[in-house]
Amino acid sequence: MNTTFNPQRTGMVAAAYTVVALAVGYAFPQWQFLLAVALSKGLVALGLVLLLRSGLASFGQGLYYCAGAYSVGMAMTYLEWNNLVVLLVGATLLAAVLGGILGFLLARYRDIFFAMLTLALSMILYGLLMRYPVLGGSDGFNVYAPVIFGEKLSRPALFAVTVILTGVTVWAIQRYLQSRAGRLGPAIKDNEVRVEYLGASARRNIHLNYILAAGLAGFGGGLSSFSIGHIDPDMAFWTTSGEFVFIAILGGTRNAYAPLLGAIVLELIRSLAYQYAPNTWQVVMGASMLALIVFLPGGLISLTQRALEKRRARQHAQEAGL
C-alpha cells in the first residue's frame, strides 16, 4: 500500500496521463475509438478496484455500466435530452443511487456470497431489459452524439472529453485511496475484526466503496454509450461484468491508474488477437490472463513498482559509493 499522500504527485501523474492519451489519440486517429472505449471500461474497473482492495470481487458491475448507458439512451429516446453534462451526471447519479440501495443488502455479505449476489442482480436487469420492449428489448437503443454549449460533439472532440473526464476522475479516486476512508480498504481485507475494534465500521466503508464503484460504472457506461453509439442488454450480461474483473486483475489494484492501463492493454490484445487470429482470439486472451497471473500477480502496474524499486536500489548503491 502506498501510504505517502502526495497530492502534487497525484495531480502530475493524472495530468501526464491526460496529455499522453490525447497525444496518442491525435497522432493515431484510428486508435481514438479503441482508446475511448478502453478508458470508459477502465472507469468501471476502477470501481472494481475499490472493492477488490477491500477483498470483495463483484461479478455484477455490468448492472451499473448498463444502467448508466441506458439512462443516456432512454433520456435521448424518450425525453430528447442531449446535453452531455446532464446525461453524464444523470448516468452517474442513477447508478450511484441504485448502488446505494442495493448496497444495504450487499455490504452484509463477503467472499463468494457477495460475488454471486452481484452477479444475480446484474442478470435480473439483463432479464428485464430483454423482456420489455419499452426498455428497448433485445435491440436496445441507439445513442447519438451529445451536445455541449449548443454544439454537437464531433468524434475527436468526444475522444478528448472522454480522456479529460477520465483523467479528472482517476485523480479524484487516487486522492480518495490516499484518504483515511480510502486507506481502510486493505485493512478491511486483512482483518475486519481489528477494524471494528479500532472504532470503524467495515460495513459502512464497504457500502461507501460500493456506491462509488456503482457511480463510476454508471459514468463509464454513459461515456461508452457515446463512443459506441448503441446500447443493448448485453451490457448487463455476466460476461461483460467478467471482462471488468479481467481488466482490474490485468491492471492491478495498487493505485487508481492501474485499471486504465489494464483496460487499454486488454483492448489492444483483443484487437490484435482478433486481427491476426480471428478464429482463436479467445485462446490468446486466455493465455494472456494465465501468463499474467503466473508472472505478474500484482498486475501490470507492478512493473512500474519493480522499476521504481530497482531505481531506488541503484540510487542507494550510488550514495553508498558502491
Binding site: M1, T3, R180, R183, L184, P186, A187, K189, D190, N191, V193, R194, V195, E196, Y197, L198, G199, A200, S201
Partner: protein, 249 residues
C-alpha cells in the same frame, strides 16, 4: 488514586448450548487500577472480556461504562466510548507494515499520521516500522497489537494474555514496556494472564475465575493465597483435610 467506578458488570450470564461460560458475574472496575484476570482454560475470563467489549452479548445482566449502559453494543461503539482491547492471537493487518498498521489506527482515531513513529518508539518497535506485520516475531506482534489498541487513547484497556507466545525470558520486559506506556497514559487495565508471577507483579487487584464465575477477588496476595484458588486455578494439591468441594461442581 481515585476510587471512581468506570465499569460495572451486574449479573452477567452467557451460555453456549449446554455449556455455561459465564454465570452471574458481578464486578466493579475502579478507574486507574490494574486488574489481573486468572483462571484455567474455559473458566470464563475471555468470555467476560468479550462481553465487556461487545464481541459477545450476555444472555442476562448489564454492563455500564461511566454510567452508560453498553450491554450488547457494537464493538466499534464501545471502542469509541473508550474501551479498547488487544487479543490473545494478535489482530493485525498482516499484509501491511507495522507503521502502516498504526497509520490505519491513527486514521480511524482522526489523529495525525505522523504520530506513528512516536508510538512505535514508545513500544520499542522503531526497528520494525517497515517490516510487514505478518512476518514479525510473536512478542513484537503482541506489542504491535497493544499499540494499536492504545492509539485511540482509551480509558480502559483489556489485554487478553499479553505474554502468551512470548519467550519466558522476555515476558517481564514486554510487560514492563507495556505497563510503562499504559501507566503514563493513566489507563485502567484488565489483563488476562496465566503466569502468576506476572499477575502478582503488575496487578492492583486479581479476579479469579472458575467454571464461569468469580471464585475470589481482591488484593493479589490475598487471592493468590486463597485455598480454593491455589487448588482449582493454580493447581497446587492441598492437604486432604483442606480439600474443599469444587465450587459449582
Amino acid at each position: 488514586m481515585t476510587s471512581r467506578t468506570l465499569i460495572s458488570a451486574v449479573g452477567l450470564h452467557k451460555q453456549f448450548g449446554a455449556v455455561v461460560a459465564a454465570r452471574d458475574i458481578s464486578v466493579d472496575i475502579t478507574a486507574q487500577t490494574v486488574s489481573g484476570l486468572i483462571g484455567t482454560n474455559g473458566a470464563g475470563k475471555t468470555t467476560f472480556v468479550n462481553m465487556l467489549t461487545g464481541y459477545l452479548k450476555p444472555d442476562q445482566g448489564t454492563i455500564t461504562f461511566e454510567g452508560t449502559d453498553i450491554t450488547g453494543r457494537e464493538p466499534r461503539d464501545i471502542t469509541r466510548m473508550g474501551i479498547a482491547r488487544s487479543f490473545q492471537i494478535p489482530q493485525l493487518f498482516t499484509s501491511l507494515t507495522a507503521r502502516e498498521n498504526l497509520e490505519i489506527a491513527l486514521g480511524i482515531a482522526k489523529s495525525p499520521l505522523t504520530r506513528a513513529h512516536e508510538i512505535l518508539a514508545q513500544f520499542g518497535l522503531g526497528a520494525y516500522a517497515d517490516s510487514v506485520a505478518g512476518n514479525l516475531p510473536e512478542g513484537v506482534r503482541k506489542l504491535l497489537d497493544i499499540s494499536l489498541a492504545m492509539v485511540a487513547e482509551p480509558k480502559v484497556l483489556l489485554l487478553d494474555e499479553p505474554t502468551s507466545g512470548v519467550a519466558s525470558d522476555e515476558k517481564f520486559a514486554v510487560m514492563d514496556r507495556v505497563m510503562d506506556v499504559i501507566r503514563a497514559a493513566g489507563v485502567t487495565v484488565l489483563f488476562v494472564e496465566h503466569d502468576m508471577d506476572i499477575v502478582r507483579r503488575y496487578s492492583d487487584r486479581v479476579l479469579a475465575f472458575y467454571d464461569g464465575a468469580i471464585l475470589a477477588a481482591g488484593a493479589p496476595d490475598d487471592v493468590l493465597n486463597n485455598a480454593q484458588v491455589r487448588q482449582y486455578i493454580i493447581g497446587e494439591p492441598l492437604p486432604t483435610t483442606a480439600n474443599a468441594e469444587a465450587p459449582h461442581a
